[in-house]
Symmetry: C2
Subunit: 243 residues, 2 copies
């Protein structure tokens, strides 16, 4: 689904502040989404602020498309996804972005999909909402529902990027410890407890249950097990050379 | 799990810019997380910028705790969750926030859980990472991995807020249309097509399959069905009164 991300278009309608445009560019770059359209921008300040907030995502800023109207910005799109924080009669079928991310990527395999964000102060108008094929609402706390424009762009892009499944989280280079190594670890620690005089023999099994609990949570890789086996080996050696 | 969110503490270490602190406050407010600690802040500009970006979340800003060291900021925490964009030997066991959000909320039921974010330019040091009980990495595109501090705070808080399950997405007020109403709709449309002379009788079933396809995708609520039933009724009435 990586190719589908290339068909996602972020459309900002009537945006007031270039800083938000720049921050949106950076958020898009973080999430592998590169097409930005400003529809009927209403910018109140200069582009230097946009460049400052875009940081190294200035290519997205430079390659932006500007259109005079909302309609032009989405005319070729196979889906037009409005974002809205407000409720109201024609906004009841909004969905959280996570719920429709997979469907939107599927549509994006066939053509451009616009994710549309309204004005900082007023959002999208009812007329614009009426032209959307899908509506998104970002889940927010009821106590503070006003989300910054670039932050809203980030969440939408993050959900699409995550749903695209291209990100592979890093994993441990050391392979998981096999059971036999774990049992060897328990055996050597039992021997060590005796040799270093940690406890009476009769108490040993009791304490070993405690160590087993800790190790079963914490010893995952061969390296983890080897580290703790080394402690037992060295403590046994030291105990045998002191008197 | 709503109460657990109240035990989440956002810890910003060595932060340079107050604008990021303000934006982080707003992001936290959006996600129902209200405790902010600045550990060893290294602020390069004045608080007016923080207030500007916090917008209406200035209470979080005002109630922030400042500590001289990282250790003080997390001393009472039952889990210390470092965030890191960098790889490296002791950072291999990082997880995406979505993967560990539920576990962190569970821990937060028992005591404060710190989500720790490093400096804008250098992140967390190896010494700080070594004190963390968990490590997070936000999934980002390999082509542009540097995420803004407040944006990183937003994603972490968003995943915790979403996992807490307190957000209930809005739903249609009209109840879903029952099958009998949908079938009535098909029957009335079939009659209408004939009455308005839309097509020859022999083609009617063919066209009805097309309408069925559209309606099965689009007619969901009783209101949807009633709307289209109304069209058929009116067209039939009009057809019977013209000649």
């Amino acid at each position: 689904m990586a190719g589908a991300l290339d068909n996602i278009r972020i459309v900002l309608v009537g945006t007031l502040y270039t800083g938000n445009v720049g921050s949106a560019c950076r958020a898009m770059a973080n999430m592998g989404i590169r097409h930005l359209t400003l529809a009927a921008p209403n910018l109140q300040n200069g582009w230097d602020e946009a460049e400052k907030f875009a940081v190294h995502a200035t290519d997205i800023l430079k390659n932006r498309v500007e259109t005079a109207t909302f309609e032009e910005a989405v005319a070729d799109c196979v889906a037009v996804v409005g974002t809205t924080a407000r409720g109201g009669l024609y906004r009841q079928h909004v969905k959280p972005p996570r719920e429709c991310a997979a469907e939107l990527l599927k549509l994006a395999a066939d053509g451009p999909v616009a994710i549309v964000f309204g004005r900082e102060d007023k959002g999208l108008t009812n007329e614009e909402i009426a032209q959307c094929t899908h509506l998104l609402r970002i889940p927010v706390d009821e106590g503070y529902t006003s989300i910054n424009l670039a932050q809203a762009v980030l969440i939408a892009c993050y959900e699409l990027f995550t749903a695209a499944g291209t990100y592979v989280p890093p994993h441990e280079k050391a392979s998981p410890a096999p059971q036999a190594q774990k049992m060897q670890l328990m055996k050597n620690w039992a021997e060590m407890l005796e040799k270093i005089g940690f406890c009476e023999s009769v108490q040993r099994d009791h304490f070993m249950q405690g160590f087993h609990r800790v190790f079963s949570r914490g010893v995952y890789t061969k390296d983890d097990a080897a580290l703790l086996l080394g402690v037992a080996r060295q403590a046994i050696w030291t105990a045998s050379h002191t008197s």
